[in-house]
Amino acid sequence: MRMKSVIAGIAASFAFAGPAAAADAICYNCPPEWADWGTMLKAIKADLGLDVPHDNKNSGQTLSTLIADKANPVADIAYFGVTFGIKAREAGVLAPYQPKYFNEIPAGLKAADGSWFTIHYGTIGFFINVDALRGVPVPKAWKDLLRPEYRGLVGYLDPTSAAVGYAGATAINLALGGTLDNWRPGIDYYKALKKNRPIVPLQTAYARVLSGEIPIMFDYDFNTLRAKYKDKCNCVFVIPQEGTIALPYVMGLVKNGPHPENAKKVLDYLMSDKGQAIWANAYLRPIRAAAMTPEIAAKFPPAEEYKRAQVIDYAKMEAGQNAFRDLYQKEVR
């Protein structure tokens, strides 16, 4: 039946004239596949009757576009990794709003005034395409990847350019004995890793892990589980022995956005039972833990392993980003 609609669509295409009807709310950084926003946006359409188009910016692009648009914002809501949410609030592009269930969010995972608040979080680790390893054993620790057998098999997102890249750098640094003020262990690790010729993309490289181009990537558990269960790859998520961090993803209401009422409805929906259940289904940890069912929890690596993932002072992590960036560009690049 899908095919028929495709053919009908192609046939009707040349009768089509003019761009599509206006949306009800604009989201920056609501990519269809990341965190399964595709399903969420469809649910919003079905349950709230609001049309929110998908958008493929990353956290950094979202922030800078919000700043560029400041005089006359285009977006209503924005989704970021927590460090960019904090930056956005400092840049004055977010408006305070406390959605439903705001009080259920722990203090460290929201701005007190509601400028940004966590809706779900993920954990950093190894996203591994086992088949693409061609027999090389699955690594268990950050330090494993420095060994020669992993030459040419590793990739990580550029820490100076992508939120997940910086999250990975923080995770490594803390796991190997550094602190949010002392980046030395992390920097030394990247320098050592360079000998193994890693690939360092500037944007999401999910496709490249699936296609075998990058067999081991520093990425989130939810992306790995999506690959494993939705795209049916022989993929496994490994939480490194030395430890890692959890990273919250946050939503913010854009200041002076064009459709504030719709935006608030959407934000409330994301925190509702149904909304949180959709995140759980997409293998993200919903901030309202009750939404996670035992069946889905069983698909994650065991809770034992997750004990190695810390929650940290994200404001401090954000403050340290510039210093880290300069150090990385000077020594590793």
């Binding site: 899908r2 095919m3 495709v6 669509g9 295409s13 089509f16 004239a17 003019g18 761009p19 599509a20 206006a22 949306a23 604009i26 989201c27 920056y28 609501c30 990519p31 269809p32 596949e33 990341w34 595709g38 188009p53 998908h54 958008d55 493929n56 560029a68 648009d69 005089a71 006359n72 914002p73 285009v74 395409n129 088949d131 693409a132 944007q203 999401t204 490289a205 999910y206 496709a207 490249r208 699936l210 296609s211 075998g212 795209d231 049916k232 790859c233 064009p258």
Partner: protein
């Protein structure tokens, strides 16, 4: 012409260049139909990726076509008269205008987009409409239309034709529409094909200028390659090819035909 060793060497070289350009395209097309790229063609052939692309990105395809046609209309109205004036009065002022027209090709698309956002981003209705993208496309493609028509007009003396028409009593409008335009037709058609092709494939400018409501095909294509499986990106590329290949063939055929006509002059 005899088939000398030189001929085969050059043929081999040309074939190598073609292989370099085409093999990845073929691989991409196959990937668009493959169930699982990592496993390879063994995993089976399927149309489901094309269906997924249609589901997610159908609006971008229409939008790109629409914007390309609008760009063409605007560049015709702006570009053909400009080329005529440049051909008719070659001189210092027209040289300056030519330099000025070349600028959008010289300045990187990223920069032009940044400039447009800084200057006109404040007008929200304009910023969020497809016309914002149209402006970018017109700026980028106008030089190509003007140069194409100018090249044809420079290659024969249309002033003689105009003068004869004038001496027979034809007014300016009639001369322009009845003599100049038909004779410049090959340049106009070649320019049109170039404009449409460039507009459909334009990325640098559009990527910065677009909003979630005004995403075009190349921008969607870039997104799909980044964040979805390779098969989806490849299927999307396939749709792109289907749109672009007829245009390119026409461009190349028409282009060489016109060149043949001029070359023998």
């Amino acid at each position: 012409m005899g088939r000398t060793r030189n001929f085969y060497l050059q043929l081999g070289f040309t074939l190598l260049v073609c292989a370099f350009l085409i093999l990845p395209v073929l691989m991409s097309i196959v990937a668009g139909f493959t169930e699982n790229f990592f496993i390879g063609v063994k995993s089976g052939l399927t149309l489901r990726w094309i269906v997924v692309v249609w589901d997610l990105y159908a609006p971008t395809i229409f939008r790109s076509m629409y914007i390309a046609l609008a760009t063409l209309a605007v560049t015709l109205v702006l570009g053909v008269p400009t080329a005529y004036v440049l051909a008719k009065r070659p001189g210092l002022v027209t040289r300056l205008i030519e330099e000025f027209l070349v600028l959008p090709v010289a300045i990187p698309g990223l920069a032009i987009a940044l400039a447009l956002i800084l200057t006109y981003g404040g007008f929200r209705d304009f910023r969020t409409s497809w016309m914002f993208i149209l402006v970018g496309h017109v700026l980028y493609t106008l030089p190509f239309m003007v140069r194409s028509v100018l090249a044809v007009l420079s290659s024969f003396d249309f002033r003689i034709l105009e003068e004869s028409a004038a001496s027979l009593g034809a007014g300016f409008c009639r001369r322009f529409l009845g003599i100049v335009v038909p004779n410049a037709r090959s340049g106009i058609v070649a320019g049109s094909l170039t404009v449409v092709t460039l507009s459909i494939g334009e990325f640098n400018l559009t990527w910065m200028l677009h909003t979630p409501e005004t995403m075009t095909l190349p921008v969607g294509l870039a997104d799909s390659y980044a964040s979805m499986r390779l098969e989806i990106g490849s299927a999307y590329t396939l749709v792109f090819f289907v749109m672009i290949i007829p245009l390119l063939i026409a461009l190349q055929r028409y282009g060489t035909q016109r060149i043949k006509k001029l070359g023998r002059a």
